[in-house]
């Protein structure tokens, strides 16, 4: 092969490699370093560097350097005139000697001269100024030919495209982060609103203060124990917080009546699930089942619930969760006409009604969650905080919970305890 052929094969191999390299999206720094090697090695250029333009800081930040020495500035400040001149010149190989009128050189002339830098290539892609490539002398000591400059510009274009792609990716990532933060803010606002709603609902009923908040917490515990994802667990909590929103439309005297309700009052009260559904349906919730939980949280698996007497498979799952949480809170808090039941009675009740009123797997999840708290497997004491410190007697409750979990169908132990 002639000398020209050898050179041609060598430079075209480098050009092909650099084209492949810029598509390497795994490691931007590595891509730039490799590209600089390929560019310098293709024409045996002794030294050089690739810098990226930061439009925020109006500076060129060195991404990769070869042979420029440790004291070469890693950041070069630019003024608008530099940027304007680069954009006017376009992607072309400019002799440093011809570029000395640029303000950039008034500041960094000495740094450029001492490194024998000969060429400056502004990286302009689609009229966007992305950075520069600086190149020193060739190993053979010859000046750059027109052919050399064409090769350099072709390779520089690839590097420019690589930087532009990276900039676009960074911008996308930044926007995605921003959106994520906005979404988180919205979620927090939504959560706060829901909690305010729950507090408003509970305010109306002086006997069941904090009921909605507790039902929200119990629903959350059940969903978490079922292994649901974080967002779904949050949805279950919201469904619990808002399940009684329909009570806002029920007469306060009925809700706060210290006596058992008469038939007419019962009819009014039993409308609250449907009213709750009407209130919640027009709202665009991040969790789709919230209105359904309000509507069906008084349904039972055996069809004896209300408002529609739905059977097991017809009841939305979230409503089954809220139903269990709601019933547990009703049994464990004082009501106008009856005192709260002790924890042992409540567990027996849940176990006996498993498969009738409550979904068995939900009873298990609920018991498992309580057991984990009582045996200190869970640090967060949500049950104790909701029920009071002394309500749950670990010595009595733990064996009962284990029995429920070990023998979901056999209630012998619990029946014995009850008798």
């Amino acid at each position: 092969m002639s000398e020209n052929q050898i050179k041609l094969v060598h430079t075209f191999s480098a050009l092909a490699e650099i084209g492949q390299e810029v598509t390497n999206k795994r490691n931007f720094q590595e891509m730039i370093r490799t590209s600089l090697h390929l560019l310098l090695g293709s024409l045996a250029i002794m030294r050089g560097g690739v810098a990226r333009f930061s439009r925020y800081g109006h500076e060129l930040n060195m991404l990769a350097v070869r042979g420029l020495g440790e004291d070469f500035p890693l950041s070069l400040s630019l003024c608008q005139e530099d940027e304007r001149q680069f954009l006017t010149a376009g992607l072309t190989a400019i002799e440093i000697s011809q570029a000395k009128m640029l303000p950039l050189f008034h500041v960094y002339d000495q740094s450029f001269d001492s490194r024998k830098l000969e060429l400056l290539i502004p990286l302009i892609i689609r009229d966007e100024f992305l950075g520069v490539i600086l190149l020193g002398e060739k190993a053979n000591g010859e000046p750059y030919s027109a052919y050399d400059k064409d090769i350099i510009c072709a390779m520089a274009r690839h590097i420019g495209v690589g930087i532009q792609q990276r900039n676009m990716m960074s911008e996308l990532e930044r926007k995605a982060q921003e959106n994520l933060k906005l979404y988180d803010d919205l979620r927090l606002t939504y959560k706060d609103t829901v909690k305010s709603f729950a507090a408003a609902i509970d305010c109306k009923d002086k006997y069941t203060e904090g009921h909605s908040v507790r039902v929200g917490k119990y629903s959350e515990l059940i969903a978490f124990e079922l292994g649901w994802e974080e967002k779904e667990v949050e949805g279950a909590a919201v469904a619990g917080y808002l399940h009684d929103v329909g009570k806002l439309a029920v007469d306060r005297s009925i809700i706060n009546s210290p006596l058992r309700l008469n038939a007419s009052e019962n009819i009014q009260l039993s409308k609250h699930p449907a009213v709750g559904y009407e209130i919640l349906s027009p709202i665009h919730h991040p969790f789709t089942d919230v209105p359904l939980a309000a509507k069906y949280h008084h349904e039972r698996l055996d069809g004896r619930g209300y408002p529609d007497g739905l059977l097991d498979h017809e009841i939305p799952y979230i409503a089954k969760i809220v139903n269990l949480a709601d019933s547990f809170d009703a049994m464990t808090t004082d009501r106008p006409y009856k005192r709260r039941r002790n924890a042992e009675d409540v567990i027996i009740d849940m176990s006996e009604n498993s498969g009738k009123q409550f979904a068995p797997e939900l009873v298990s999840a609920f018991c498992r969650s309580m057991l984990k708290e009582l045996t200190n497997e869970k640090k967060d004491k949500k049950f104790r905080r909701s029920l009071g410190k002394d309500y749950l007697d670990s010595e009595k409750i733990v064996p009962m919970l284990k029995e429920v979990l070990n023998n979901r169908n056999g209630t012998s132990y619990l029946t014995n305890v009850a008798s």
Binding site: K7, S13, L36, G41, I45, A139
Partner: protein, 107 residues
């Protein structure tokens, strides 16, 4: 006998001369390690660096850039560089690109 393996570069120091085996490492970004180790040898006071190409079939642009880095470092340290056991094609490439202006070729 100078230790060498097919895939790895190794150093051997003899008579004030550090010998590095280029192998195929030189053609990849990982070849920068060879350059760093050459600089370590120069810092240690070696005045001759020999790069052995016995197991290097082809030399690409990355390798040229790394070799220029070695040449530059040696020049700054006042040391000389020898390329040994270079195949004919690679010699032609070194000559075309002007690397032979800076190094001595040996068999």
């Amino acid at each position: 006998m100078i230790p060498q393996t097919e895939r790895e570069h190794t150093f051997n120091s003899e008579n004030g001369k550090a010998v590095v085996f280029a192998s195929d490492y030189l053609n990849k970004l990982s070849g920068e390690k060879i350059e760093r180790e050459c600089k370590t040898k120069l810092d240690a006071g070696f005045k001759t660096l020999e790069v052995n190409f016995k197991q290097t079939e082809i030399v690409n642009s990355i390798a040229i850039s790394i070799l220029l880095g070695v040449i530059d470092a040696a020049s700054n340290a006042g040391a000389k560089v020898i390329f040994s056991q270079v195949n004919e094609e690679t010699v032609e490439l070194f000559e075309t690109l002007g690397l032979t202006n800076h190094v001595k070729l040996e068999n």
